[in-house]
Symmetry: C2
Subunit: 492 residues, 2 copies
Amino acid sequence: VASESFKRINSVFYPSSIAMVGASPNLYKWGSFLLANLIKGGFKGPIYPVNPREKTIFSRPCYPSLAETPGPVELAIVVVPVAHVKKVITECIAKQVKAILLITSGFSEAGKAGHELELEIAAMVREAGIRLVGPNTMGIINTHADITVTGSHTRPLRGAISLVSQSGNLGGQVLGWAENMGIGINKFVGTGNEGDVNVTDMIEYFREDETTKIILAYFEGVEDGQRFLEVARKTSMEKPIIALKGGRTSAGSRAAMSHTGSLAGSYPITLGALAQAGVIVAKNPTELIDFSIAFQHLPLPQGNRVGVITLGGGWGVVASDECNERGLVLPELPEEILTKLDKLLPSFWSRGNPIDLVGQINPAVFRNSLEAVTSSEAFDAVLDLGNLGTSHFMYRVVSTVRDIDPSFDPSIVQIAINEAAKLEAGHLRDVGDFIAKYNKPILTVSHSEKLQYAIPFGDNVVVAYPTPEKAIRALQAMLWYRNWKAGRTKPA
Amino acid sequence: VASESFKRINSVFYPSSIAMVGASPNLYKWGSFLLANLIKGGFKGPIYPVNPREKTIFSRPCYPSLAETPGPVELAIVVVPVAHVKKVITECIAKQVKAILLITSGFSEAGKAGHELELEIAAMVREAGIRLVGPNTMGIINTHADITVTGSHTRPLRGAISLVSQSGNLGGQVLGWAENMGIGINKFVGTGNEGDVNVTDMIEYFREDETTKIILAYFEGVEDGQRFLEVARKTSMEKPIIALKGGRTSAGSRAAMSHTGSLAGSYPITLGALAQAGVIVAKNPTELIDFSIAFQHLPLPQGNRVGVITLGGGWGVVASDECNERGLVLPELPEEILTKLDKLLPSFWSRGNPIDLVGQINPAVFRNSLEAVTSSEAFDAVLDLGNLGTSHFMYRVVSTVRDIDPSFDPSIVQIAINEAAKLEAGHLRDVGDFIAKYNKPILTVSHSEKLQYAIPFGDNVVVAYPTPEKAIRALQAMLWYRNWKAGRTKPA
């Protein structure tokens, strides 16, 4: 049963109708590019642009006031200048909207008068039973309701990762990466000045939100640290929270005070307190996204023993160093695997972990090595380096040959292209199959710049990183979370 | 005056003519894709494919033997199976080639017999005064002579960065990144088993090579550590060496032994010894490329005081944390800058470092802030976060508006596109101008996934990173090198 708090915030993300007060045809105004973004996103309910000076915007009818919109409004998006906000909030209350997204800036972040106005508005909406996101926010996304209203204009795929960020520009960066890497996002909210809804409310909401499987959070300070840690602890038992804390150093904390000044007196959440609450701590924005993809698509490792299969020796060495430095171990290969691989690999093969395939692009060798390691009780996780993406190389060769010799037999070229595609598909299928069959994480690393991080294949999604170190950091984070959970669930 | 050693290795990179012994029309063979790659690269001298079973390859004449090629051969690229290599080396000596690139594998890495054959071949070429790269190498690139012969088939732009790698797959990864990021490469060599030419020889060669300004090196072990460190120290005084050492942990070193087995007994070069020799130590392959671009295009910082200008607050906080953790400081803004910026920024601006432009996309504000900080004696380096790449956002908006409203006034759309392009160009010009005018590094960080790392603009190149942490790590590396050099050049 959903809590009352959940139901009320739900009106932000699943409204039956949306009005945009302050809609504009001027491409340089938030009321214009937010509206365009919202329409383009494909929201199924009615969208009512409101602006007394326009009859139509983007060839759609525009309404002179919120009161004159031809139906009920569940979510009001407000982008009018700060001087008009209070009046519009009154209109929102009269219209009986359920939620407000207040984009407008010029409140707490702009000084004392702004701060007082923010408090006043917060009191008004609280009394009316309306939840308000903002002010001074970058916007929201809910891919599950086709809602995309952000300043950054990113439009990621639908997925299970939800993000709350106190910083709009950091949120925009993470969303942009997600879009480019094919990483599915569920919901995004920039909490801005947190006049009403704050980062803790959002983590609580995401915990109850069934389609959210992974929670990402960027925050610099929180008003009520005790409640934050309680909510985080309860949530971490159900789904992972991956968080980046801004202001962890003295310089960063000075910058954070100036950035989100209203939180200057807020509870100092330390990295240690976060870890105790089961929060997976990222060191920078990139790690937020790098970790999320592993958590979204892979089972957790049950221990720290890693088997490495590599197409080339250098990556095997680099991966060994990184594993060693991150608390992951590379056990020697058990006898049964040595025996299996002796039959598959050249006589001079390394007979060690990492298993170096010495450049052999042979689907059978790859599949058998991968299954031998993944199925073995000697390993908790598998790194697969450089095998995925080899088809990319063949496309390059074919393109070169066509350039230098237009008379080259086209049927041979076609066979090469077909074989490359088959190789890649086979590899994706094998990785996905073995993850499912043995319930063990396989993290792949690819040379190809064309590959996404998350590659859908049949019913599976294969996770492909551009470097061994990214894969290994993600694996370390998963193992940390698995151990935290295990410690929590063991009898005391 | 070039050394004798330099002149001899020079035949590898600047041959007047090239033969490929073992050329093949079969797209799956090295003799095929290497030849195609070489032809496509545009090498100006004659290229002689050699294969007794083919009359033509890629519609070009093929010769039955090295002896029968119709002119002198300076560089012989050898890709025949290991069993034929010794015979071909004899033919190379008879043909009086100056250098050999021996791609073929199956030598030291394949066991005792291979190791002995490798020693035998090395002795043969040494006696004949021929320099040999390989065996078991990924190939070479010299963009300054239009030579591209690598298994990885990457084709980076021409530049000043030269790379030596004991691992072909790691070299290929770095070259692929360089190509994708618009980073100019000068020369690449995979030293493979180092039967003759080794990583130390290559660093020595790159030191003398005038067009090489930055040296990148990946290595796991070296035969003669004393000589390596002497060469590195001498080279570091003239140009930076950025190195990644594989096998720095026990697991990594075990993997390295198995990867480049012949070096098992080699001198253990520690990170401390590298640092004493002025070598900038990268922690992973990504840092090799991230650092190289800053060293290639920016003046060294003269101290650790950083001024940060950011379009959004979150990045300012993250950057402050990262600077703090990496020994860089963010001094308060001097009075003169406060006075200047009070006139430009909204009354509620942060009045601190980072300078938060609170999303104002105003070229004059940006230019004046950037010049104020760059010209100030209070700062040694500048981070410019999020200003570059804002045009990308406008292109997205325009594309959305065209989608949702095909009747939207096209002249307004065109103006928006023009303004965005002008904004971006102006920003690039400002950054380039101020770096040159004040001889101080400005590292930019951009939201746009379309941006390259190295953006040519007029006579300048602007360095743009995708994240603050990458820019800050590169700045830390530059400062480290500057301090090492200063310590060396100060009177004792």
